[in-house]
């Protein structure tokens, strides 16, 4: 693992939304790394912030705090953490905990950070000119019907990215579109049709074609199969699998169906209410889940086996009962090499003990 090249690095990502007086902390200080060529799964129940994380990375939102690095370049940056630091310093100054000089020092340092973050953020804005680094990240959306313009032909939809990039050679565009259509298992005749003429699985293929025509390195697949029939799901999963092997794609796979994520991903992060609670390789996570939320999630997966199903006991997760964070707030800790859990010291020791017993 250590030798692998880090393609995407998310550091303390914060994405808050204002709702009335309050702030809705959709994503709260999430950090993870995605290695080149792997499939990284992000699971959790609806509303836990997994889609928001994906959209923040691709800059559909302006992030509130933290930073995202792609190939070592900071492509998004938020200023909240620095502003918080300044606010804290001001408060400390009032209470007399720090001296005036210390405050000025903190203030200046954070001010510089804010300027840098703003500059970085501006630099990697999505532009319609040239081959931008951020264009190497593409997204596949959940609902193929809603994400395709009903008034555009398939050719227009797929070629749109190329045209925005500034390519004017029509023959080249056509050639590229046909090639991509072939790659995703559609035929050339489909290019002149409209999205409504396709079935659900074919529509999702169009969505995939639109993403991969930009020659991306990283694809963010936001629940690409949730809206599809079971039989079509398998087609799309197989296609994504083939593509990632053939084109060497790295995929950030967001889904709530654990069986599919397990099948598809190399590493999995489990999210709960805006925080990553557990991160491990997929085999490891399913064999030795430590966090009680992961356990409850795993116990809810339906299995195609009537007798086991009838005896299945679902574990419920209640954060108020399962954790005691009154004395110490939890942080991400590495229980086992490559296996991170959100826990405090007491839990960390317990998990490590469990880990030694099972291995």
């Amino acid at each position: 693992m250590e030798n692998k090249e880090v393609l995407l690095k998310v550091e303390n990502l914060q994405q808050y939304f204002k709702s009335g007086k309050y702030e809705n902390r959709a994503v709260d200080k999430v950090s993870f790394e995605v290695y080149k060529g792997e499939v990284f799964g992000l699971v959790g129940e609806s509303g836990c912030g997994k889609t928001t994380t994906g959209r923040s990375i691709i800059r559909l939102y302006d992030i509130t705090g933290g930073s995202v690095y792609y190939k070592g370049e900071r492509i998004c940056a938020g200023t909240r953490s620095y502003k918080d630091a300044i606010a804290k310093a001001k408060k400390d100054l009032k209470e007399g905990l720090i001296t005036e000089e210390q405050f000025v020092e903190i203030y200046e340092a954070n001010k510089v950070e804010i300027e840098m973050a703003k500059a970085d953020h501006k630099k990697w804005r999505r532009t319609n000119k040239g081959n931008n680094l951020i264009n190497e990240i593409q997204m596949i959306f959940q609902d193929p019907i809603a994400s395709l313009d009903p008034r555009m032909t398939v050719r227009d939809i797929i070629a749109e990215g190329l045209i925005i990039r500034g390519i004017k050679d029509k023959d080249y565009i056509d050639q590229q579109v046909y090639k991509i259509l072939d790659t995703v298992g559609l035929v050339q005749e489909h290019a002149s049709r409209y999205p409504h003429e396709f079935s659900g699985g074919q529509r999702q293929r169009i969505g995939i074609a639109r993403a991969i025509i930009m020659n991306p390195e990283l694809i963010i697949a936001d629940e690409p199969i949730s809206a599809l029939d079971v039989s079509i799901q398998a087609q799309v999963i197989n296609l994504l699998h083939e593509l990632s092997e053939k084109m060497g794609l790295t995929i950030l796979f967001i889904a709530h169906d654990l069986a599919v994520v397990k099948y598809f991903s190399d590493r999995i992060a489990v999210m709960y209410f805006g925080k990553i609670v557990e991160l491990a390789t997929s085999d490891e996570l399913f064999k030795h889940p430590f966090h009680p939320y992961t356990r409850s999630l795993l116990s809810a997966i339906p299995v195609p086996d009537p007798i086991t199903e009838k005896n299945r006991k679902r574990v419920t997760y209640n954060p108020m009962l399962d954790h005691d964070y009154s004395s110490e707030a939890p942080t991400m800790r590495e229980v086992y090499p490559g296996h991170f859990v959100l826990c405090n010291t007491e839990e960390f020791e317990r998990y490590q003990k469990e880990c030694e017993e099972t291995k």
Binding site: V230, I232, A234, F264, A300, I301, P302, I307
Partner: protein, 715 residues
């Protein structure tokens, strides 16, 4: 087991711009009491259409080509909309995929829950009265007929007995009505008092005098020997309340809170008490109007009145009623035996194929009359085949001859249009209109339907004759009396808003909604997805249905919530002995729920069996494909997806509909449709692979391995 619902040869099409889409093609299944039947298939396989047909909510462009949906002696496809109102929601309830779309966004949840309860109570009374009087009259007639047959004449005693039964039922209902009145007030008292205590404890300003006055009124009105019995304590409360309310203004005080909360406790206990058996009590009161039973314990009183009724009246009445039931049964069996050759005759006529309208109507008419007279109307559990025979046979004959008349006209129109179209093309123009395919009635199919109706009737008669020896008259008499009892108590059901609210809150607790009293007054948007689905389930259950249809109830929910909702449906099914039809495209969800599974493809059931059959020994290639296309936690190899898409049902493919996507397809699959092969008593599949001459094909390795693994895991 009890058959609750029978679907026979159901065929449904939709008229669309492109032509007729054959959505459901000849499917049959039974639903038994207390079981879950799962229908699994891809979108467009016709599973939702089937459920909508059962609910009677098919889209306007649908055509029911044939078949029957039998429920409680009625064919749901042929009854009028008015009659459907009595069944839809009341007897058969449905839960839809998206909870938000089945809730009214601008109505409070509580209002939506109680709406149906209040409406139902209003209509229920009228129906109960008719049913009660009709059945009692019929019973009297049959008993008299029995006596006449054996040369006896007991008409006077019979009439007296029937009259007595009627009059003591009326007495019972009177007592029950008084009780219901008081009980209703007590329910309201409990809700109001609890509410007031809450407000007072929080020190909210209220018009205390008026509030106490209304509580006093409710308390005095709910005094009844079996609700809040009149006692010194109660009189004390009343005097205290009267004193308090005699002034103009009152301050909140600990004393008042204590008083109101003790009244609340009183009401709460009163509601938990055992209810007296009004049926037996009514008879006792009728005979001994002056005896006062108020001081006796309720369960003792129930026992006493019951013994009294049995001794003095009921045993005799049952003996007498047995005569009527026996006569009715024997008469019906006699006519059934007579009718059998007639059925054969009619069947032979239709199977012959050369039929004309006048002759067929003539030949069917006496048969219909015979069948109608052969119905044993004293049996409470109706045999649907007999009851719907009349409408079924006439309907299918009408459809056939309509087709005979209509087909040539359609063909003519089509040919004319085609010629026009061809002419335009020949002259080099491209027409701006589309040539619509002709809408022709499939006459062979219609004729087959007629024969099927007759065959079903014959089968049902033969079965009745076979089981005649085990027919228990005593059981049937008890059924009749229970039914009469039930109808009598339905006459005096009282459902006010307060009672409905109390019931709704109980129901919300049952489906696992925390703090139902607060939730009752909220709007749907204030609920999360899982909670919304729970509300929808509670609404579906509010009318106490027999059958619950769940149309993809968990598809819009995520894994943990899905598991919760499935557990809830399972729990409710067990508690209420419901029959559930569960529709989904996810086989994994079904494993926990279903007793039996029907796999649908292109409007047909291709495999049908218990859940163990389908999961451990799947036989149809489509089931294999469904199972292998979904990964489980152990899967690591490439998934076997189903290539292509479902066929266009405007032009259903020849032979097996799945053949084109099936890598195990044989040559015959493209020629001839496979029949249902029986694998075991409970397991059927429609694939030529099961034919004795077919080559031996194993199920895909991925499934075989998974099944082995599952079996190993258990050992």
């Amino acid at each position: 087991m009890d058959k609750k619902l029978e679907v026979k040869n159901l065929q449904i099409s939709f008229r669309t711009q492109g032509g007729i889409v054959k959505a459901v093609r000849n499917i049959s299944f039974d639903l038994y009491k207390g079981e879950t039947l799962a229908i699994v298939g891809e979108s467009g396989s016709g599973k939702s259409v089937t459920s909508k047909a059962i609910m009677g909510i098919l889209a306007g462009n649908s055509i029911v080509e044939g078949g029957e949906i039998l429920y409680d002696g009625q064919d749901l496809l042929k009854i009028s909309e008015e009659d459907y109102h009595k069944i839809r929601g009341d007897k058969i309830a449905m839960i839809f995929q998206d909870p938000m779309s089945s809730l009214n966004p601008i109505m409070r949840v509580g209002q939506q829950l109680t709406e149906a309860m209040i409406l139902k109570a209003k209509t229920g009374k009228k129906n109960a009265k008719n049913a009660f009087n009709g059945l009692l009259k019929l019973l009297g007639e049959k008993i008299n007929a029995y006596d006449t047959q054996y040369g006896e004449n007991n008409a006077a005693t019979v009439e007296a007995n029937i009259k007595e039964f009627d009059s003591f039922c009326i007495e019972s209902t009177k007592i029950e009505e008084l009780f219901n009145d008081a009980y209703g007030q007590a329910t309201q008292l409990e809700v109001d008092a609890e509410n007031l205590v809450l407000l007072l404890k929080k020190n909210v300003k209220v018009d205390l005098v008026n509030e106490l006055k209304s509580i006093l009124k409710l308390l005095t009105e709910s005094i009844h020997p079996y609700v809040i019995a009149d006692s010194v304590d109660v009189q004390n409360y009343i005097t205290k309340l009267t004193e308090l309310t005699s002034v103009k203004y009152l301050e909140n005080s600990a004393e008042i809170i204590e008083l109101v909360s003790s009244v609340d406790k009183l009401a709460e206990e009163a509601l938990k008490q055992e209810k007296p058996n009004f049926f037996t009590l009514g008879y006792y009161k009728l005979k001994n109007p002056e005896v006062n039973l108020d001081s006796i314990n309720v369960s003792e009183m129930n026992k006493m009145t019951r013994d009294y009724l049995d001794e003095n009246f009921m045993l005799d009445f049952i003996k007498m009623a047995e005569k009527g039931v026996k006569y009715s049964h024997e008469e019906s069996m006699r006519i059934k035996k007579e009718t059998l050759p007639l059925i054969d005759e009619v069947l032979a006529y239709f199977e012959n194929g050369e039929i004309n309208e006048k002759k067929s109507k003539e030949i069917v008419k006496p048969l219909v009359q015979k069948v109608d007279s052969a119905i044993d109307r004293l049996i409470i559990k109706k045999n649907s085949t007999e009851y719907v025979f009349h409408s079924a046979i006439e309907g299918s004959i009408r459809e056939y001859f309509n087709g005979v008349k209509r087909n040539p006209i359609e063909e003519k129109i089509y040919l004319k249009n085609q010629a026009k179209y061809q002419k335009l093309i020949d002259s080099g123009k491209s027409p701006d209109w589309v040539l619509k395919p002709q809408i022709v009635v499939d006459l062979d199919l219609k004729l087959e339907n007629i024969c099927k109706v007759l065959k079903h009737l014959k089968d049902s008669y033969l079965k009745d004759i076979e089981t005649e020896s085990v027919f228990s008259i005593n059981e049937k008499v008890i059924d009749v009396i229970d039914y009469l009892k039930e109808q009598a108590s339905k006459l005096v059901v009282k459902m006010t808003k307060q009672i409905a609210k109390a019931k709704a809150i109980k129901l919300m607790e049952e489906v696992g909604i925390p703090e139902p009293k607060i939730r009752f007054n909220q709007y749907p948007f204030e609920f999360s997805g899982g909670m919304r689905q729970r509300i929808v389930i509670a609404i579906a259950l509010s009318a106490n249905p027999d059958i619950l249809i769940c149309d993809e109830p968990t598809t819009a929910l995520d894994v943990t919530i899905q598991a919760q909702i499935l557990e809830l449906i399972n729990q409710i099914k067990k508690d209420r002995n419901l029959s559930v039809i569960f529709i989904t495209h996810n086989l994994g969800v079904v494993a926990n729920m279903a007793d039996r599974i029907g796999v649908m493809y292109a409007g047909k059931i291709v495999e049908y069996g218990t859940s163990e059959d389908v999961f451990y020994e799947p036989a149809h290639p489509y089931t294999w494909a469904l199972l292998s296309s979904m990964p489980d936690l152990e899967t690591s190899e490439r998934l076997e997806s189903i290539p292509g898409t479902p066929p266009n049902m405007i032009y259903p493919p020849k032979g097996d509909a799945f053949a084109a996507r099936n890598k195990y397809a044989l040559d015959i699959d493209f020629e001839l449709e496979p029949p249902m092969f029986e694998i075991t008593d409970t397991h059927f599949a429609a694939t030529w692979l099961l034919h004795p001459n077919a080559p031996k094909v194993e199920m895909p390795k991925i499934i075989q391995e998974r099944i082995n693994r599952m079996k190993k895991g258990r050992e």
